[in-house]
Symmetry: C2
Subunit: 161 residues, 2 copies
DNA sequence: CAGGATCCCTAAGGATACTG
DNA sequence: CAGTATCCTTAGGGATCCTG
């Protein structure tokens, strides 16, 4: 249990705290349909019916999920108007929603490697090379999974977004 | 919709394929309790009752979730015996389970930044610096979210695990 | 300690029909 | 196109009690 460092080493005292960011994140976007809607938003889908059709859920579910994701600040509703039509709403990623994408990509990468022989790959649009999810530290090292730890800092540290 | 490159640009033809790695991954570990059990396994928890208590779910739920995660290959059951006791089972991360951790860490990071003022931080145990989830391409660039794309490759490419 | 059995409640989500 | 309304099924999960 070396991953919990410093004050966290006393596992049970920390466990009592109970306010885990992972838990809160799952409460917001922890359903299959919410995750797939985020995928679609990343792919560029903005219209209600397109979400419903491409995610493969009913309109009722689409409506509920979109409302929750807007409420949570991952998506935002924006009015648009096509010529000769009344004004409607479209759904686009917010900054917070865009910052959520690593979650989706990490799932994509894991599923691709372990469940699928899919020929889909993440790429860096700029240079065309394949891309993947990595852990890096502020000192610039790529951190392998068994060297990732968890620590309690005194107050908000500098490393923001 | 520039993120879908090449053959994928025809959004609807690809949509019909319908076998998305994200969806499959969510089907396996897409519940709050499964995700928290993975967090606990990473923290070093191995015992049934510890999972139940620290995740905050009943033993019935613990039993069901652990069995699913073992079945899916993320955890493995290993017998152990304490002196004077009968043999019991403990649950440890497999390689596939360890490779799943970026999903958990990405959720942790997003929740920490957007929902929480938690003082918990990911760290690189080796050097002590704070760590975070990044996208990098094979050419070594750090890829910002708006430069991540999705492409269909001819067959399995070299970049494996 | 590591479960299984039972009962009950809630949220996710399908199917279908209807509306502005 | 973008929803709302109604009805129904299923899975997650709490509570409680019991077992090896």
């Amino acid at each position: 249990m070396t991953v919990l460092q410093g004050a966290l080493a006393d596992r049970d005292s920390w466990s009592a705290v109970g306010h885990c960011p992972i838990e809160k994140t799952m409460a917001i976007a922890g359903t299959k349909s919410a995750m797939l809607i985020m995928r679609e938003a990343f792919y560029g889908t903005t219209r209600f019916d397109d979400f419903a059709q491409r995610v493969g859920i009913t309109k009722a579910a689409t409506s509920a999920r979109l409302a929750e994701l807007v409420e949570a600040g991952l998506l935002t509703k924006r009015p648009y108007r096509e010529p000769g039509q009344r004004s409607r709403e479209e759904y686009v990623l917010t900054d917070a929603g865009t910052e959520f994408m690593p979650v989706v990509w990490a799932m994509f990468e894991w599923g691709r490697k372990h469940l699928d022989d899919s020929r889909l790959r993440l790429t860096h649009i700029g240079c065309g090379a394949e891309a993947g999810v990595e852990i890096r530290c502020a000192a610039g090292h790529e951190v392998p999974p068994d060297e990732v730890g968890m620590r309690l800092v005194r107050r908000a540290s500098v490393r923001g977004s």
